[in-house]
Every structure is written in C-alpha cells, then in structure tokens.
Symmetry: C7
Amino acid sequence: MRIRPLGDRVVIKRIEAEETTKSGIVLPGTAKEKPQEAEVMAVGPGGVVDGKEIKMEVKVGDKVLFSKYAGTEVKMDGEEYTILRQDDILAIVE
Amino acid sequence: MRIRPLGDRVVIKRIEAEETTKSGIVLPGTAKEKPQEAEVMAVGPGGVVDGKEIKMEVKVGDKVLFSKYAGTEVKMDGEEYTILRQDDILAIVE
Amino acid sequence: MRIRPLGDRVVIKRIEAEETTKSGIVLPGTAKEKPQEAEVMAVGPGGVVDGKEIKMEVKVGDKVLFSKYAGTEVKMDGEEYTILRQDDILAIVE
Amino acid sequence: MRIRPLGDRVVIKRIEAEETTKSGIVLPGTAKEKPQEAEVMAVGPGGVVDGKEIKMEVKVGDKVLFSKYAGTEVKMDGEEYTILRQDDILAIVE
Amino acid sequence: MRIRPLGDRVVIKRIEAEETTKSGIVLPGTAKEKPQEAEVMAVGPGGVVDGKEIKMEVKVGDKVLFSKYAGTEVKMDGEEYTILRQDDILAIVE
Amino acid sequence: MRIRPLGDRVVIKRIEAEETTKSGIVLPGTAKEKPQEAEVMAVGPGGVVDGKEIKMEVKVGDKVLFSKYAGTEVKMDGEEYTILRQDDILAIVE
Amino acid sequence: MRIRPLGDRVVIKRIEAEETTKSGIVLPGTAKEKPQEAEVMAVGPGGVVDGKEIKMEVKVGDKVLFSKYAGTEVKMDGEEYTILRQDDILAIVE
C-alpha cells in the first residue's frame, strides 16, 4: 500500500457485502446503508499521540468494525479508503 | 461470538421483553420504547484506554442496563448488537 | 434491590410529595413539576472512575436532592428509577 | 438548615432587595431582574472534587455575588434556594 | 471597595471615554460601542484555582484592556462593575 | 508602545498591503479581504499560563501570519490592534 | 520558503491533479472537489506545544494527505498555502 498513516491512524477499506434479508431478498452492496465492516490496509506506528502512549492493537489484514461517521475518506488510484484513529475501531471480526 | 471488542468496549445484545403495564395490558417487544436491558456478549481486554487504566467490571452473560443513546449498533449474521464503552453501562441487573 | 450500579453511579427513586402552596392549595404529586428529591436505593463501589479516585459519600436510605436533568431513567418491575453519577447529587436532606 | 451539600457545593438564598433607581423610583423586589446577591446557608465539606483538592473559602452567613445562571434551584419547606459550586461564587460582599 | 473577589477573579470598572474620530467628530461615551478599557477595583487572592497555581499579575488602580464579552456584570450601590477572571484581562495600559 | 500584554499574549498590528492580482489589477487595502499578515508590537512575558510553561517565540518587529478570527481587536489612540495568544500565531514571515 | 511555522505547525501546498474517472473522462483540477493531497513546504520546530512534547514526523518535500477542513489558508506572493498542525496530517503518500 502506498499510504503510510501517522501516529495512531489506520487506513481501512470498506467491505461491500451482499446480504440476504430475513425475508430472503438479496440486497446488492449499493442498495444498503453504508457498511461498517472494513479491512485494515495500513497501520501507523503508534507511539506518543496527543501526550498519551498508544499501542497499536490492529494489524494489516484484520477485519474490523468501525463507527460509521469516524475518520476521513480519501481517494487513491481510483479506490476509496478511510483513515481513522485506532480508537474509532470498535472491534475485530474473527 | 465472532466479534472481539477493542480496549474498554463491550458488545451487548438487547433483551426484548414482554411487559405487563399497570393497567394489565401486555405490550409485545416491538410496540414499546427501545429497551435498555441487555446481555453482555463479549468484553474487551481493558488496559490503558485514552491514557487511563481501565479494569473491566462486566463479564459475558451479565445482564446490564445501559444508556439508550450510547454506543454504535452493528448487524452481524442478521442479528443486531450494540458496541459501547464499559462506562456507558449503568448497572448490572442481578 | 436487584440493580447493582457500576463505578460512581447511584440508583435513586424519586419521592413524589404532596405540597401545600403558600396560598394553601394542596398540589398532588402529579400536578407539580418533576420533584427533585429522591431516596438512594443502591450505591456503586466507587474506586477509580475516569482516572480519578472517587469515594462514595451517600448511602442507601439517604434522602437527596439531584439535578433534574441528570442521569438516566430506567423501569424495573414496573417502578421508575434514575441512575446517575454521585457528582449529580447536590445535597443530602437531613 | 436541613440541606447538607456534597463536595464543593454551597447552598445560598437570594436576597431580594428594594432599590432606588438613579431617578428616584423605588423598584420593589419582584419588578427587577433576578438579583445576584445571596446569603450562604450551608457549605459542603470540600475535599477532592473531580480529582482536584478544593478548599472552601465561603462560610455560612457570608453575603455573596454569584453568576445569575449558575447552579440549580430547589424548593424546601416553601423556600427557594440555589445550590451551586463554590467556583460559581464571584465575590464576597463585605 | 466593598466587594472581595474569590480566587483568580478581578473586579473592574469600565472607563467611559470621550473620543475624537479621525474626521474630528467627538463621540460621547454612550454613543460608542461598549468600551474595553477599565480600571481594576479589587483583586482576588489567586492561589490554586481549578487545580492550577495562579499568581495575580494585576493590582488595584491598573488600567486594563479586557475581552468585551468576558465576565459577569454586577450592580453595587448604583454603580456597574464587571467581575472576571484574570485570564480574561488582555493587557495593562501604561 | 503603551500596551503591556499579560501572560502568553501578543499585540499585533495588521499590515494592509496593496496587491496585484494575477490579471494585473491592483486591489487597494480596503477592497480586499481582511489581511492575515501583521507586525508584532508587544509581547507578554510568557511563564506559566493555564498551568503550562509557555516560552515566547516571537519578538517585537516580527512579521507574522495569524488566524483571521483569532484574538480581540482593540482601539488605542485611533489605531486598531489585535491582542491574541502566541498559539494563534501561525508562522513568522522572513 | 519565506514562511517559518511555529511549534508543531506545517506549511503545505495542495497538489492539483488531473484525474481520469472510471468512465475515462478527464477532470481538470478546478472541476473536481478540493484535493486533499499536498506537498510539505516548511515544518515547525516542534518541541513543547500546549504542554505536550511534539516530535515532527514529516519533512519538507513529503507528499501528505490531510483533513480537508483543517488549518488556515494563507496567500503569499500570489500562491495559496495551508498552515496546519502536524496532527491534522493523516498520512504520508509514498
């Protein structure tokens, strides 16, 4: 990946999933609300951020859930990414 | 459970309860206001969060009360969960 | 009581009092503005809350005054309670 | 006094004063804007409040000036009091 | 002066000045915008305020400039004063 | 200069510059948007400000860039100045 | 460069790129939304900023991504720059 995030920031790429609703109708990716699942593409070095020692807990390739309104969207080489702070990542999906 | 929360975060699942009002009418789950009772499904490791040492006080299986507007709702495998910080859990119901 | 509050939280139950106005008219509980007096039903363990050591000053059975807009209302077994932080309790009524 | 404030809180009672305007017209208490002068009725113990050591500087009987919008108004035994933090008291009137 | 400010607070009295505009027109005090110059009437003792040691830098009689929207206006004996924190005083006019 | 700023405050005077636009039209000072360049007229002593040690980095005569909405404007002897905190100065122009 | 930023501030210059959309249409710089990529033109010395030790991680010539709404725009010698804090730089583009 060409982006190297600073501090406690993480670059993620949303996973657009097809989903079958309870009633059995398949909703293709674009017809649903913005997905909150993403894959980690790059992880900052952590260290002292805003006066506090931050240890990075996620790694490249992790599937994560994140706050829908967190971070900043950037476009690189025609692809959309979100750059957010590790603290805006809610959980790792296993 | 497939979700592993980070830091002081907790994954809960709302308990939708049937309730008998004082006048004796039974309100099924969907007709009532959003319930605030939930079961703990997964608990983060705690540790240093935002520069402060956090000790996790709740454990998987606990019934808890939480602030109705706290946390983020996520959908996994057709089920709805809420991921919130332990501090948004008000009390354990025994 | 079945609710065990976490950290510096306190469970209180409002005291709905009849009151005689200066002009001598009795206002029954429901006709008045929301009362601010309450009885303490359960007290959290205190300890380190948000990085600060909190010592609990109120105990079960205390009559207290609290900020009208503080805390979260919960319904348990048909009764209404308020769960708030000890810091939102203004004074003990003796 | 029956109210015992917690922490750095102070119970005050507004002094409603008659005042003669420069033009010589007497404005009775109720016709003026809310007075900002008050008498201290009860003083909390101070101590560690929100992680900081607070020493109480006012005492019962002091006449004080306070921020008009500070604190919470409570009614006890038909009398109106304001409970505020000592930091919302601007000055002592001698 | 009858007002003794608490902590890092300062009592000031605005100086209403007549001013000659560039075009030579004299604007009497009341026709101009609220003046920002004032004289210090009383100074609090300083000390630990909000967990920080504050040393008072102004003294009674100093002419000061202050933020127009800072502080609280009080009326004492028919005179208007402003009580503000020393930090809202911008500069001393020599 | 007659103004002695307190703490980490700095007194600056805007530099109203004539500017030639790319198309070659000269915009006199008053027709442009508020300039952000200024000259430092007076510098406070620094020291402990709001609990933090501040070292002053600018000196009288420096040309600086500042946040357009920062600080407070004051008029002294018919001249307009801005008093702001050193932290609102973005850069020194050399 | 003639601008020397203070503290943890960084001067950047936006890179206006031509871009080919997926459908193959070329959007010249001015027709697109504000670009978020920039080149670092000058870097402040870091040091203690707002009570916290800041180490500068970017250097002159780095290509960076930044929050679109961060910082202050300044015009110098007919060129537009943005001055922002290092913390508003999201990532370095390699």
